[in-house]
Symmetry: C7
Subunit: 71 residues, 7 copies
């Protein structure tokens, strides 16, 4: 049995996929999080409808919109 | 009488179906949860409109979007 | 005068109809609940637009999406 | 000056109209409530787009979806 | 500088316009409120898309849906 | 570094633009606020899709719907 | 490991991109924030569907609508 935030914690510094509402996806290195699942991503690709639309050196992603995070 | 979180707890390590808003479904092994119904799934298929679109070794699914979980 | 959660409590082990947002309905035996109106249903039919689409031996339904519960 | 919950309280055992989001309306006897405006209705007609679609002996209506209650 | 709830308080017994999400408007006498902006209106006209669709002797309007209240 | 509520506070008695969800905009004098960003506006124009649709002597605007406030 | 609010804090006085729900984007200097991710921006361009529609000397942006902030 693993708590969701512990799994998130063990993904720090690893590549993750973050899927948000509205067909948005972010792929980058997880650099931080808080208990609301707000995330810090580094060197992330932003995808809308599966196409890369932007590259983000750093992004603070609001937890509200997260559907899932996959380390 | 069974509390929802107790039923969730007894589903740990079992195969579950997780139905989310937006015609999303996840089928995998329940590896963890928290009181917000955030979930950890292992070896999960992601289905959109009943078709498998991705396989996820590990996924932290936000409880917010859950419609139901069926062990 | 009856508190909503007390009415829910007295419906335990009885057949209930649960109507959710998005034209979803669940008909089954109420096996549990919590103060957020998260529910445990047993032997439930899932209906979308009034058609049975799935049978669920056990389902933990998130209270968030509930419109009403009718014992 | 009347507090909303006091007005609700004085409507107990009276006929009320409950209008919800999504063009839903319930007309029945108010049998209970709680501070979240979750309601217990008895002998209620459910109307969608102004047509009676179902009769409910008892219904626990979630306060979340309420637009207004008219005693 | 006026606190929103104080302005609401000084509108008690006055005619107000209440605009809700979904093109709904209520025009009546403010008879009460609580800190969630739940309101009690008396002798209110309900307007949808700027047309009066119903007259309500008393209505408890849920604060959640309020866009603005104009005394 | 300025806290958002302090900036709001220093805009009291000044003309502000308030943009809400649903293509609504209010332009008037900020007369008050609370920590939820509920606002009191005086002598405000209400604009929908960039057209003035109403003039409001006083309006209590619910913070929930605010996208931004520009002093 | 970096907490999201700490990353936000270190972006004070720097140029940031703020992406909101509804295809809205703000590009300006971050002048403040609070724990809800309410932001103060200075000299910001407002973009809707990637086109600049307005220039804002100061804007208090509500955290609720934020998808991500990129310093």
């Amino acid at each position: 049995m693993q708590k969701p935030l512990n799994v998130l914690n063990s993904a720090i510094n690893n590549q993750v996929i973050v899927t948000l509402k509205g067909n948005r996806e972010y792929r980058g290195v997880l650099d931080g999080y808080d208990p609301h699942m707000n995330l810090v991503l580094k060197n992330a690709d932003e995808l809308i409808n599966n196409e890369v639309v932007r590259k983000l050196t750093v992004a603070i992603v609001r937890g509200d919109n997260v559907i899932y995070i996959s380390p």
